[in-house]
């Protein structure tokens, strides 16, 4: 086993004689079986669809090799690099790249749903987006703003947080079609969160 996320386990395997990764959504004992099966199948199918659309839109993400809905499993090509969340320091250029990738996805009508540094793999300044498990096809400002919010929350507390945030937003504004509207919505979400301070 290579990695264990909250939802799935990732194994090394081969596909057509080439090394590949298998992402399998395992049953959750805490969830009612009826609910669990629906969610796992739905998410596997949707993730495959989104991965294809994201690559078609030119975003950097893992290549989908095979989809197996019955076993809730996807076969993917391996991605080089390290998780951004594991990096001691994140460079502003990497945050910029993260903003650009998110803009590409949003313009293709894709929201990621879990756009945090734990789901971005950095190879130098290049950033690859992984795990579309909570992704959706949506152009809703709310959903897009949630992606921005999740990224910003995931860099919160880092020493260079303001620089990362500004580079991320700058790239997003430069590349996303409705960037301004999305960032405005981010502010609105902050404002309606429980006991949020007015300054955020």
């Amino acid at each position: 086993m290579l990695a264990r996320g909250a939802e799935a386990k990732v194994f090394h395997t081969t596909y057509d004689g080439e090394p590949a990764l298998a992402k399998r959504r395992l049953p959750k004992a805490y969830r009612l079986a009826a609910l669990d099966n629906t969610i796992r199948k739905q998410r596997t199918r949707r993730e495959a669809k989104i991965l294809r659309a994201a690559r078609a839109a030119g975003a950097k993400c893992a290549e989908l090799l095979k989809e197996d809905e019955q076993n809730c499993e996807l076969l993917l090509k391996e991605v080089e690099g390290t998780l951004l969340s594991r990096e001691k320091t994140i460079a502003p250029k990497q945050a910029f790249e993260a903003g650009l990738q998110l803009a590409l996805l949003h313009d293709a009508g894709i929201v990621h749903g879990d756009y945090t540094t734990s789901n971005l793999i950095a190879d130098g300044n290049l950033v690859t987006v992984i795990d579309f498990g909570l992704g959706e096809f949506s152009n809703a400002a709310e959903e897009k703003a949630t992606d921005v919010l999740l990224f910003e929350k995931s860099i919160a507390g880092r020493a260079n947080e303001p620089a990362l945030r500004s580079h991320f937003e700058k790239a997003y504004l430069l590349h996303a079609r409705n960037g301004h509207a999305t960032l405005k919505r981010v502010k609105a979400i902050y404002a309606r969160m429980r006991y949020a301070s007015q300054s955020q």
Binding site: G5, A6, Y30, R31, T116, A196
Partner: protein, 337 residues
Amino acid sequence: MKILAIESTAHTIGVAIIESKAKSATAVSKANTKVLSNEIARYPAKLEGFIPRKLADHHAKEYPRVLRAALSKAKVALADIDYFSYSQGPGIGHCLRVGFVGARSLSLLNGKPLIPVNHTVAHVEVGKWACGCADPLVVYVSGGNTQILAKHVERGANYYHVFGETLDVGIGNFLDVMGRELALSPPNAIGFLALAEKGKEFLQLPYTVKGNNLAFSGLQSAALRLKGKHPSADICFSASEVAFSTLVEATERVLCHTGNKEMLIVGGVAQAKRLQQMYSLMAADHGVRFSVVPPVYAGDQAAMIGITAVKHALSKDIRRDVSPNQSMRIDSHAIRW
């Protein structure tokens, strides 16, 4: 030291007396810090919900009786108290003011310092004290709050960082509204959870997890649209399964991110049996020690305020700004222990 603590953020007015022999804030444990008394009066659940003015009237009327009961049960005189503490926020403004006025008057009359306590921090601290956890991932689930928290260093200090939270209403609030709208008995989360156990058919409802965050208002609307079309028991069963599953899933995500070795659930909703069961399954899967705050310290009460005040006093961290604050966040101030 002896501390008198007052809680009055929402439906409960409470007074507790705490005695601590701990030498430092980090050493506070069940062995050296005792709850001598923990008296409460709770505003009854009604179909009209909570009307702030009525809640505050209830608290003001019950306060003298609760205060006397706490003192006599603890066999402590006001003159023996070293610090007076109270819930500064977050909460309902009208209610906060009752506890604040009570604590401040006692502090002035007896010439002893006043310690303002953040109600959210107090829920976490009492859970850690009661369950003997050192550094747990904490899930705080109550009427107004749904937060997934862990101690985290930010800007050179310790904070309870909010890794995930509700983006609209608290889970307890959602359960209360369901209980009220379905006119259950009692018309709140308790009635809802009791009926949920009798549900048989699982009805499909929207399942919302936004990364580590949650939202319950969409689920609430969808579940209430089923009112009258399906038995209330099935609606309650399905809605609670979905709500709790999203909560456990978001927590599991945070756990994978933070890697804590202990997990603790606190707050009124922590008493929900099905939620405890789901969490223990998830914790076992990750090899994490799992604890639930004992029932007496789950809902709002003043012992948690007193235990947190002990830590404030021992770490000489007493806020100057004593005014009640309706919208205090848990991550707005550093934790000095």
